[in-house]
Structure formats: structure tokens, C-alpha cells
């Protein structure tokens, strides 16, 4: 967060030098309006994450999506990411909830990557109308193996990096 803060501060100075304080203010007001619009969805996402963490039984999740869940866990993560409704305001709180109830990095990576690459929400709303059906279908087909592969790679690297499990 400190890194981002510094990056933002530098960008503000750059905008100010180029466009003056009116340019800085203009971005600020439009971003604040965006922020206000996003807030209710963020609240919904947080509630969703908390409810899911409450409903999903810990043992079942760690068996289905934990470190030893194998290919099946990666496939479940991929399927879950692909059907998850909503935008980033649901995907990330839900992914964080999965981590806390026993999913490992691999399965969670498969879920996040699947949501961003083959989730239907963004593809239907934006990619299809802008890039056309041929390209979108094509792009999704070549993306299909990626969530499982990314999750498998994540598991492989994780075991090498932290052979004794989660460092805290």
C-alpha cells in the first residue's frame, strides 16, 4: 500500500504539472463519484464473503480445495471462478474467504484466474460487443487450460518456497 501511495503521489504531481490544479480536481471529482457508486457493491461483496465463510464447512473446503486436493481441487476452483456472478467486488472477497476456510493458494489461483479469463460476466457484457463473437470464443478456447495450469504451477512453486507450510 505504501508503494501504491508513492506511485499515486508521483502521478498527482505529474498531472498537476501538466494540467494544473483544475486537472487534478477534475480527476478527483470523477473518481470520487465512481468511488461512491462502487461502495454499495463492495459492502455486498464483503457480506457475501463473510456469509460464504460461515456456510462452507472448514473440513469440506480443505478436503475439496486444500493443498492435497489434486487436480480435482483445481478443477473445482476453475468451475467456481467461471460461474461466479458479479464483478471484482464479489470475486476477490469470495476468494479471500476461500483462503480463510482452508483452500490453498493453488485452488484459489485457479479460481481467480478462471474468473478473470473465462468468467462469462465480462465476456458477455464487454468483450463480445467490442471484439466480436469469433475473437471472443477463440480467446476463451485458448484460455481454457490456463486456470488449471496456473493453479498447478502455483502449488508446485508454493511447496518449493514453503516446504513447511504457511509461514506466519
Amino acid at each position: 500500500m505504501i508503494f501504491i501511495g508513492v506511485l499515486v503521489a508521483v502521478s498527482v504531481v505529474l498531472v498537476w504539472r501538466r494540467d494544473g490544479s483544475s486537472g487534478v480536481l477534475e480527476i478527483l471529482t470523477s473518481d470520487l463519484a465512481l468511488f461512491g457508486g462502487i461502495l454499495p457493491r463492495v459492502l455486498a461483496g464483503c457480506l457475501l464473503g463473510a456469509f460464504i465463510a460461515e456456510i462452507l464447512p472448514h473440513e469440506k473446503v480443505s478436503r475439496a480445495l486444500g493443498p492435497s486436493s489434486g487436480l480435482k481441487g483445481l478443477l473445482i476452483g476453475t468451475a467456481f471462478g467461471a460461474i461466479l456472478p458479479g464483478g471484482p467486488f464479489t470475486a476477490y472477497p469470495v476468494a479471500a474467504a476461500l483462503l480463510t476456510v482452508g483452500a490453498d493458494f493453488g485452488a484459489t489461483i485457479a479460481m481467480v484466474v478462471s474468473w478473470t479469463l473465462i468468467g462469462y460476466g465480462r465476456a458477455v457484457a464487454w468483450e463480445l460487443p467490442i471484439l466480436g463473437a469469433d475473437f471472443t470464443l477463440w480467446r476463451i478456447i485458448v484460455s481454457l487450460p490456463i486456470p488449471v495450469l496456473a493453479g498447478a504451477l502455483g502449488r508446485l512453486v508454493y511447496v518449493r518456497l514453503y516446504p513447511k507450510g504457511e509461514p506466519e
Partner: protein, 166 residues
């Protein structure tokens, strides 16, 4: 704005459905879960604020011509590499990312390069990382996820080169 309305209905519908399922397990559990969700929300608001307001400024200092330049009609693996970098550096929401992809296709960019661009944008777009992924997820997870995702724009491009054009 019907798409946004639909999203809101599905979203709050899911919240209500899951909330009802938690409620059936008991009032105390439901209240505790709702309180926990609200606390997460309160903790996350300042980070989202920095993300939303901050990424607007970062986006403003990246000229769009730079991105389109990287995606130009040069083909081959160098094109895939620049397309991947361009995808990660593209500011703004899905409209910007997909429109740049569409422009690149029109001016003669190859399908593998544009696929690499769209996949890289989906995996690494800095604005989504800063605004959404880092505030919600443990930072270690985000860097880890991004690092193991690095090969995949190239893999997608390779697959599309092997299989051919749509």
C-alpha cells in the same frame, strides 16, 4: 445501465440468499457473520478509496497512444512480448482494454498478439490489481498469483499460433 442493474440484482440476490442460509443456522451466528462482513467493509474502504482515486491519476499520466504503439502490427514473439506488457500497463476498465484490442486487430495486429494482449490485461491490468485484488487479498497471494501467471499470455499466443485463425 441495464447491465449494471442486472449485476446489482444478482449481487444483492446472492447476498440475501446466503444471508438467509446463515440465518437458518441461528440468529447469533447470522449477526456475527454480518458484523464480520461489515468490519471487513470498513477496513477496506480506505484502501479502495486510495485505489479508485489513485489509479485515476496513474491512468491520466499514461497516454493511450503508447499502449496502441506497443500493440502495432509487428508480429512474432516480440509482438507477443510487447502486447503482454501493454496489457499489464493498460489503464481503465474493460471498455478501454477491449477497444484497444479491437483497434489493434483493425490496424493489422495478429490474432496471437491480440489474444496475448487481452489475456495479459485480464491477468495483470495494474488498475484492477491496485484497486481490487490488493485491498481484498493478502498481498503475498497477489504477488504470488501474478508471478505464476506470467507464462500464460505467451502460452495463449502459442496455442492460437498452433491452432490457427478463428
Amino acid at each position: 445501465m441495464t447491465a449494471a442493474l442486472l449485476i446489482d440484482i444478482t449481487l444483492w440476490g446472492s447476498v440475501a440468499a446466503l444471508g438467509f442460509m446463515v440465518w437458518q443456522r441461528g440468529r447469533v451466528i447470522a449477526l456475527a457473520a454480518a458484523r464480520e462482513g461489515s468490519m471487513d467493509f470498513i477496513n477496506i474502504v480506505p484502501r479502495i478509496a486510495l485505489g479508485v482515486v489513485g489509479s485515476g491519476y496513474i491512468a491520466a499520466v499514461i497516454p493511450p497512444e503508447v499502449i496502441t504503439g506497443w500493440l502495432g502490427p509487428d508480429s512474432g514473439w516480440f509482438g507477443v512480448l510487447t502486447a503482454t506488457i501493454a496489457g499489464a500497463a493498460t489503464p481503465g476498465g474493460p471498455v478501454v482494454g477491449f477497444s484497444i484490442g479491437a483497434v489493434a486487430l483493425k490496424v493489422g495486429g495478429g490474432t496471437p498478439q491480440v489474444i496475448a494482449y487481452v489475456v495479459a490485461w485480464a491477468l495483470f491490468a495494474f488498475q484492477r490489481l491496485i484497486l481490487w485484488e490488493i485491498p481484498f487479498m493478502p498481498a503475498r497471494f497477489v504477488w504470488f498469483r501474478a508471478a505464476v501467471s506470467l507464462p500464460f499470455p505467451f502460452l495463449a499466443a502459442a496455442l492460437s499460433m498452433v491452432i490457427g485463425k478463428p
